[in-house]
Amino acid sequence: MEKELRLMKGNEAIAEAAIRAGVDAYFGYPITPQSEILEYLMEANPYEKTGMVVLQAESEPAAINMVYGGAACGKKVMTTSSSPGISLMQEGISYIAGAELPCLIVNVVRGGPGLGTIQPSQSDYFQACKGGGHGDYHLLVLAPASVQEMADFVELAFDLAFKYRNPVMILSDGAIGQMMEKVYLKPYREREKTLPEWATTGKPPTRERNIITSLNLDPYLHEKHNQKIQAKYREMEKNEVRFEEFQTEDAEYLFVAYGTSARVCQKAVQLARTEGIKAGLIRPITLYPFPSVRINELAGKMKHIISVEMSAGQMVEDVRLAVNGQTEVTHFGRMGGVIPTPEEVLEDLKSKI
């Protein structure tokens, strides 16, 4: 079957891709700027077509715990929200990580703190990449920079989630959620019929009972459990780092940026080059695991590195750790829902020369 070309919002692309990827259930609660996802799914009524359950929950905590219940049945289950709603889900996300359940959580980030603003932001990087809830855990974090990637990352996210039995987050932002672009949609994939052997589906006589829990009262056993999930993160760091480079071959100045900021920086690189400044860009696609090794390799050739983020500077800490003192690293960004212009970014770069 041919791929289908459509003009869609990023939020709509996630919803349509979820139906096509054979997702079993979506549980969500309305919040701007991502309510189109729930609206699109309700209108599409995929239960009739693929059997996908779509349910509007009474709150974000309920939604994420529905995700827990569904994921513990071995099903492909997802939720989406925006920053304040994702904060409310942190308890559930920690339990999901602790119980080693695969699922997809999409954060279409808006400006914070608090109720903040409904405009796009990247100020949830720490929350997404450093745990977010209580305990030692990581989500595998994918950062789309286009509507196409919003669609493509749904299937990728579930493949990774089931590979590692770990929750995956798509960390998007209000700009990518709301903007329209052309998107190639994949053909429909059937929902999975066989469920993983660890799933709680009712105990047949042929196996021991399955228990999904994050509780371990024995500290030595619980340390072992922690070591097990940490070992998974080391595997992800080895196998799952994804990034994209733009004009880094001869670059002397490097931007590190993801999502919307990466698109702004791509233009800034072009503007810099017309003025004879050899600028380049590395765009992390996985924010966790972070492309530290590649950034470390590139850093030796760079006169200066700028981490461009729509925040007060969060990813810049990981960039500095990766660069490890080889060259100077600074942050440039706008906050509160403001998107920097390529000219502003270029001006900041020039101030470092």
């Binding site: 079993d24 259930a25 549980f27 359950v53 349910l55 929950a57 009474e58 709150s59 905590p61 309920a62 939604a63 715990n65 529905m66 995700v67 827990y68 219940g69 569904g70 513990a72 049945c73 099903k75 289950v77 308890e91 559930g92 339990y95 119980a99 709680t200 589906t201 009712g202 105990k203 047949p204 006589p205 009972r209 399955n210 228990i211 999904i212 829990t213 994050s214 509780l215 009262l217």
Partner: protein, 269 residues
């Protein structure tokens, strides 16, 4: 006439009048002596065994004394975050509609931190069974005041008795869920006497039947005790429960299905 001379003659299958349910594991209960949880677990296990539900049952444990329920029952179970069991059960039942899905929750879990999940699951009419153990106290954390602690009742956080003027009123959440259109069967039972145990077991069997027919949410409150938290002997605790808890939480059916639609059909089979 045969003369019975020793154990070997008595222990014969035909003489068996009672046995431990096969659904109960060999794990020793972690409950205090005299606590109602053990009895509630046992009758639930018996219903699962008698109805042949083991291959189709998915249960959800709460946070509270029964957090380790999955250690005691030989069925697939999920451990929920505090108060969120009805959200888990909602998803399980929606994704596996032919399974028997239940939650087992205490009063703090169900009627304080999980009030929203409880009310909305019941209001949506999820086809699940919610078993609600109400002993008027937070047992696991050491006897603090619960949403169901009755007026004047002493706990570690109401050491002079619950003063409703400053501490608020106990929440009759069972009366609340009975008002919701999504519930089909709401009843309040207990497990402190053999007669009460039999009635509660019968209620669970009814709920299994209603769930099979997708009739909506079944909600069984079991008014129970907490000898450790109440600082009483098991006998004193049961007596205190009868004299005080039952006045506030009166046992009996709060809501029964108006008619049992397929009853006549079943009778013919």
């Amino acid at each position: 006439m045969k003369v019975v001379t020793g154990d070997k003659d008595i222990i014969q299958p035909e003489n068996l009048v009672y046995k431990r349910s096969s659904i109960l594991t060999d794990k020793q209960f972690s409950y205090c002596p005299g606590c109602g949880h053990g009895t509630a677990h046992r009758i639930l296990a018996e219903v699962i065994e008698e109805e042949g539900l083991q291959p189709v049952t998915v249960g959800v444990c709460p946070v509270g004394c029964s957090v380790l329920m999955y250690d005691f029952l030989d069925i697939d179970m999920q451990e929920a975050a505090h108060g969120r069991a009805p959200a888990l059960a909602t998803a399980i039942k929606r994704l596996l509609p032919d399974r028997f899905v239940f939650t087992y929750q205490g009063d703090g879990d169900l009627a304080a931190i999980g009030t929203a999940e409880t009310l909305h699951a019941c209001n949506r009419g999820e086809n699940i069974l919610i078993i609600f153990i109400n002993n008027g106290i937070y047992g696991m954390t050491g006897g603090q005041m619960a949403p169901t602690t009755i007026p004047g009742m002493v706990s570690t956080t109401s050491p002079y008795g619950r003063d409703v003027k400053t501490m608020g009123n106990p929440l009759k959440i069972t009366e609340l869920v009975a008002m919701l259109p999504g519930t089909c069967y709401v009843t309040r039972q207990s497990v402190h006497t053999p007669a009460a145990v039999r009635k509660t077991k019968k209620a669970i069997k009814k709920a299994v039947e209603y769930q099979k027919r997708n009739m909506g949410t079944c909600f069984i409150e079991i008014v129970s005790n907490c000898p450790s938290g109440w600082r009483m002997t098991p006998v004193e605790a049961n007596k205190w429960m009868e004299e005080n808890m039952f006045k506030f939480y009166q046992p009996g059916d709060l809501k029964v299905p108006p008619e049992e639609p397929e009853k006549s059909k079943d009778d013919n089979e």
